[in-house]
């Protein structure tokens, strides 16, 4: 079977699913962020794939670029938050960062 669009979509979907699982199951805040990165990468692969096989041009790649940019920003802020959480709770286990229930 020729390498074609569905192949990439499947890789993207699997990345997304693993990312989702990571986000939901990880108790380590850094791990949660890793899951987010996986999800974004899954989406990026979809962007690039659709761009290559369906649309043509570079607009999908530009979208992916923006996603990368936002991911970088998110990582910076997210990790800063992780540090702040660690400072506050002396742990980065997300189960203990449950002030929102109050």
């Amino acid at each position: 079977m020729q390498i074609s669009l569905p192949h990439f979509l499947i890789v993207g979907a699997l990345l997304f699913c693993f990312g989702l699982v990571t986000v939901t199951t990880r108790r380590n805040a850094v791990g949660v962020l890793m899951g987010v990165e996986l999800i974004l990468n899954g989406a990026n692969i979809n962007f690039a794939a659709f761009n290559h096989y369906v649309v043509g041009g570079v607009s999908g790649q530009v979208f992916a670029l923006f996603v990368i940019v936002l991911a970088a920003a998110e990582a910076a802020v997210g990790l800063a938050i992780v540090l702040a959480v660690f400072q506050t709770f002396k742990t980065i286990d997300v189960r203990y960062a449950d002030l929102m229930r109050e």
């Binding site: 079977m1 390498i3 990439f8 790649q61």
Partner: protein, 211 residues
């Protein structure tokens, strides 16, 4: 109604939902679609295809490692694999600039940042027990519920594909379009980066303050 009973009820309900979802979707959508799927024409598997499968496998394995590893450091290494694999896949998709950007930003920036964070919050002994059984169970349920649907959609949908353009250097095109058609998002992105830079500094500064 104690917390634990509520929790158990919640998990049971969630599991039931996931199983029900899988069953119903399988009956209603996936199986008929699979049947209706046009048979793919068989073709010789070339070196490129093999390379693709290897890289895709690396990517997925990395992602699985991120999700399943007990040690956060292994997770980080799994993430490295996944990101590298995704970058290599971009090359298959004739997105050379994107691949390089992936390499530079994700692996050179984000991943290093993540590793820093891991080191800075270094209580690895606690982190090794990061996955409780219920969490793993929930994750499995989620995976079972979501993955088939997405895979089915990817496989079944009759995508209106075009003949892919031959691989070419996209840097110039992307640069042009960033400064013409996508100028506003480009500028906004720069503002977002600036804001996140400032925000990250402000948030992380507390540490120093508290000391």
């Amino acid at each position: 109604m104690t917390q634990s009973t509520g929790k158990i009820i919640g998990w049971i309900l969630g599991t039931a939902l996931a199983i029900g979802f899988v069953v119903v979707m399988g009956q209603l959508a996936i199986v008929p679609a699979m049947k209706a799927m046009p048979p793919g024409e068989a073709s010789a598997t070339g070196l490129v295809d093999v390379l693709f499968y290897v890289i895709a496998g690396l990517t997925i394995a990395g992602a699985a490692g991120v999700a399943l590893s007990h040690n956060i450091l292994y997770s980080a290494i799994g993430l490295l694999g996944a990101l590298l694999g995704a970058g290599a896949l971009y090359v298959f998709l004739a997105a050379d600039f994107l691949a390089v950007a992936q390499l530079l930003i994700y692996i050179g920036g984000v991943l290093v940042l993540v590793l820093f964070a891991v080191m800075l919050t270094n209580r690895i002994s606690e982190i090794t027990v990061s996955n409780a059984s219920l969490g793993l169970w929930g994750g499995a349920m989620l995976f079972i519920a979501v993955a088939p649907v997405l895979l089915a959609v990817a496989l079944v949908t009759p995508w209106e594909t075009i003949t892919p353009a031959a691989a070419a250097y996209t840097t110039e095109t992307i640069g042009d379009s960033l400064l013409t058609r996508w100028l506003l998002p480009f500028e906004v992105a720069s503002m977002v980066l600036l804001a996140s830079l400032v925000g990250a500094i402000v948030i992380a500064r507390k540490e120093i303050k508290a000391d």
